[in-house]
């Protein structure tokens, strides 16, 4: 489900709507089967710089075009659409399968699991195409895993830019961080409002 913009993208509008890259927790972004460890972080940038390929880009290992990118966000986001800019000469990815809110997926998991949504991509060297999501399924995304199983015929897959359009909520779907387990309850830790209000019964 690709759609093209019906207006020129020099507008201010476009860049501000592709702003979810600011909510990505870059330090925790990882990729499997990348040729240069850490190069995955370079594909998350502002809309204006999506064609700026002077920096690094993400490339898979020689002879194996499969790529798996794990992206955690700093808060829950709603994703409306995704844009991918690949490389030239058949190195663009041809398929995209995404998984939501799953940690630690590796290739065998990705190949066997049913993705939340998958797209057939086209070669999108100018980043004008965006792939819309089934919005109802992408309502509270804490992390997203992108699986690119194949390329357009080349031995490797190159990705220059990954963009997300949507909105960020300020919520965090996080693990419960502070829990206190008690072996024996201490009444003074459990003063209720009635007791502290100076009622007749007082727990010290």
């Amino acid at each position: 489900m690709a759609c093209t913009h019906d207006h020129s993208c020099e507008d201010h509008d476009c860049s501000s709507s592709w702003s979810l890259y600011k909510h990505i927790d870059l330090s925790k972004v990882t990729a499997l089967n990348e040729a240069n460890p850490g190069s995955v972080k370079s594909v998350f940038k502002a809309w204006e710089e999506r064609l700026n390929s002077t920096g690094e880009h993400l490339e898979s290992n020689e002879g194996d075009p499969e790529l798996l990118v794990y992206i955690p966000f700093t808060s829950d986001v709603k994703i409306k659409s995704i844009s991918i800019v690949g490389g030239a000469d058949g190195t663009s990815p041809s398929k995209l399968r995404v998984f939501i809110n799953r940690d630690g997926i590796d290739f065998s998991d990705a190949q066997s699991m049913q993705p939340v949504q998958e797209w057939d991509l086209v070669e999108n060297l100018h980043g004008m195409l965006e792939y819309q999501t089934r919005y109802s399924k992408f309502q509270s995304v804490a992390n997203i895993t992108l699986h690119f199983p194949e390329s357009f015929g080349s031995d490797t897959t190159q990705i220059h830019y990954i963009g997300f359009k949507g909105e960020a909520t300020q919520l965090k779907r996080d693990v419960v961080a502070t829990i206190v387990y008690e072996i024996t309850p201490n009444p003074s830790d459990h003063k209720t409002r009635a007791e502290t209000g100076g009622g007749l019964s007082h727990v010290e």
């Binding site: 460890p37 290992n61 940690d103 290739f107």
Partner: protein, 402 residues
């Protein structure tokens, strides 16, 4: 301090009965495994280690990745030797065990002890290696024991397929007098990719070099980590205290030296003044002042702290007026010399011409342009020059404080 989950693959095939590694190949291997487990858990408390055997009836996981060292050591007991090693299956099972680790943030690593001949062909091993690399699993290979044709080549090919940025290593250990564990201690398998190995590895290496089981401070960090830590901390404190004491002693020694030299200066000055005294009446008057000046200077010598720099002037004034008071002050000041800080280097004060002349100007009846006073200053200058050369940086400090 890399957060890592490690699976160790042990070779317990028939070839391990051989005694070319003391006491037997299997025992040497077990010792090496124990050491590695200790090193991993010490370098990062959240590291986990698991163990599986590759031979026997089939590949069997003895303990899944855990940070409990006791569990790991316990499962090494009562292992039986037999069968043939299945390297490919062993590595694949290890990879599966790592995949299901509890903490997904840990890096994955497999350590393989390859003691018996390798049955698989190079292609198959390379495929396995590629799969490990794709899933970013690092692999360390310990090549020991049997050395038949092609084994080394196959293992090297496997390493080349897995290696991603030098995170994987291979070590060839030939049979010989040195134990397997000792050889491994100095390798990156132990020290972990050159991050500067854990203290455990370092101390174990020192022990191996010394040839005695003497760990740092004679306490095995493994057996009693708290004691080892306490000993290390008290050693540091002792060292720091000794340094401070030595510094203190050095300062006091140098100060006493200067004090002695200053006294000599005052003596010679007095002698020279006595000589010129007869010539000039003016000098007579100046002489009394000079005496009190000497007293004042001697006093300011005993004055330790720089914060009292201004007070030096005041005390000198008081001293000039009242010799008894000067004496009393001197005594009281001498008591406080012990507490002197390193800042108070009074010879610097005196070396500073402007400061001295300002003191002199404030003294009643002393004319800084007086030749005898100038003589005193000159001799003071000469005395304090050697010290001045030593601590030139103190002089600008004095400047600021004024």
């Amino acid at each position: 301090m890399v957060l890592e989950a490690t699976m160790i693959c042990i070779d317990n095939s028939e070839w391990m009965r051989n005694g070319d590694y003391a006491p037997s190949r299997f025992q040497a291997q077990a010792d090496a495994v124990n050491l590695i487990c200790g090193a991993k858990t010490q370098s990062n408390p959240e590291n986990t280690v698991g163990v599986l055997t590759m031979a026997g009836k089939g590949v069997r996981v003895l303990v899944t990745p855990t940070s409990d060292l006791g569990k790991i050591l316990a499962c090494m007991h009562g292992l039986e030797i037999g069968g043939e090693m299945n390297l490919a299956a062993g590595i694949q099972v290890a990879q599966l065990a790592l995949k299901h680790r509890q903490n997904k943030k840990q890096q994955q690593r497999i350590i393989v002890f390859a003691g018996s001949p390798v049955m698989h062909d190079k292609k198959a091993l390379e495929m396995i290696g590629k799969k490990l690399k794709k899933n970013s699993v690092a692999l360390d290979i310990v090549n020991f024991g049997e050395d038949d044709e092609g084994k080394t080549e196959k293992l090297e090919a496997l390493l080349a397929a897995v290696n991603n940025n030098d995170t994987s290593h291979i070590v060839h250990v030939p049979a010989g007098p040195t134990a397997l564990s000792d050889v491994l201690i100095s390798t990156p398998i132990f020290t972990g990719d050159g991050e500067g190995g854990s203290g455990f590895a370092a101390s174990a290496a020192a022990a191996a070099a010394g040839g005695v089981s003497g760990f740092e401070f004679g306490v095995d960090p493994n057996l009693d980590p708290e004691l080892a830590l306490a000993l290390r901390v008290s050693m540091e404190e002792e060292r720091a205290r000794q340094e401070a004491a030595a510094k203190q002693a050095a300062e006091e020694a140098s100060k006493e030296e200067k004090g002695g030299e200053e006294q000599d200066a005052t003596m010679t000055e007095r002698a020279s003044e006595g000589a010129s005294e007869a010539d000039n009446k003016k000098i007579e008057i100046a002489d009394d002042d000079d005496t009190s000046l000497q007293q004042a200077l001697a006093m300011s010598m005993d004055e330790p702290t720089s914060s009292q720099g201004l007070q030096d002037t005041e005390m000198s004034d008081a001293a000039a007026e009242d010799p008894e008071l000067a004496l009393a002050l001197q005594l009281s000041v001498q008591d406080s010399t012990k507490d002197s800080s390193s800042q108070a280097d009074v010879s610097k004060l005196l070396a500073d011409q402007s400061f001295v002349s300002s003191i002199l100007a404030s003294l009643p009846g002393v004319d800084p342009n007086d030749p005898s006073v100038k003589e005193v200053l000159a001799s003071m200058q000469n005395q304090s020059e050697p010290q001045q050369k030593q601590d030139e940086d103190k002089a600008p400090k004095k400047e600021e404080e004024k």
